[in-house]
Symmetry: C2
Subunit: 176 residues, 2 copies
DNA sequence: CTACTCATGTAAATAGTTACATGATTTG
DNA sequence: CAAATCATGTAACTATTTACATGAGTAG
């Protein structure tokens, strides 16, 4: 699909930044629906530069440390906006190792099945707490605010985790 | 992670079957949390055979058409059951192209943003209907039934889709 | 006899992870 | 001065997708 390309173009559309900054975004805000390591980002930035969709200037931090600050070209912005506007078919259901385990869980003892569910539930409750805290920092934003997209997806992530926890609790209850 | 390996071993643990059958499972029941094409399955079955985790016998359908029926070896079953019993750390949030688009959606006109959401919602409502119909065929199963895992994950898939539809409806409402 | 399903594979390309490799800058 | 963070890259491997390739069996 080449989605990484558009994730990067979209971040650069918001503000010019380095590969390192992009990697940092993928480990924080965006990590609730996309991620990529620097080892994937740097080569992609090279390809985007070669394709003329982004350019960079070199900044020096301190005495020598180089920092390549990337920004979109006209063509890059056009490409991004045209991707953003596409009505795509929905993605196949995401892969989920835990659900796979539950699918096969009739082969476990009731005790072990419950232990696995409890372990999963604990971790998802932590994630949910973290997300809720983040969400609080966004009061209800108007739809015109440039950060409205952030708010929508964060709200979606909270709902997703809440439902997942809820499902796990039901699984526990039904196996007791 | 090598999850495909355990998905295949788990299916073979349920009953002996061919690569073709496994591929069919990945396009139906299991597709709500895992999938793989036959081009990934056949090479994996070869590797599992070489590793001594599965064996096969050749069946002939009709006059000549060969069908390799795979089953678990003792070692294969041990390996599968030990994987099944592992308490693993939760997976990173799944990648989701639509959420990525929504994250950037401040760059769209309100009309286009709404059109994208409505398009997504229609498709997820269809998927939800299909899942609900499937779920009806499972009455409440006792936790001891070998098909109880199927029931749990199907219930989880319904909840996941319901929440996703719910989120999309909220997105629509808040942008109007 | 045509279209669909059964059945098995390989090849080539893209996507993604983990490890290797290096060195500067900042903070405590 | 040690540890964390800033900063950029490559190499090797694993995972996944799409396309190529072939042919038998079945139902209408």
């Amino acid at each position: 699909m080449g989605t990484l390309k558009y994730a990067i173009l979209g971040l650069l559309d918001q503000k010019e930044q380095s590969g390192y900054d992009i990697a940092a975004s993928f480990s924080s805000s965006i990590s609730d629906f996309w991620n990529a390591n620097h080892s994937q980002i740097y080569p992609e930035l090279r390809r985007l530069t070669e394709a003329g969709l982004v350019t960079y200037r070199v900044e020096i931090s301190g005495q020598v440390l180089e920092r390549k600050v990337y920004s979109l070209t006209e063509e890059g912005r056009r490409d991004f906006l045209s991707w953003l506007d596409e009505e795509a078919p929905i993605a196949p259901s995401p892969k989920d190792v835990f659900r796979l385990r539950m699918f096969f869980s009739a082969r476990l003892s009731p005790e072990r099945r419950q232990a696995l569910i409890r372990h999963e539930l604990e971790q998802h409750r932590d994630r949910l707490e973290r997300l809720k805290e983040k969400l609080e920092s966004y009061a209800l934003l108007p739809a015109e605010d440039p950060r409205f997209g952030d708010y929508l997806v964060l709200r979606g992530a909270v709902m997703r985790e809440e439902t997942h926890c809820c499902w796990l609790e039901e699984c526990l209850a039904e196996t007791m």
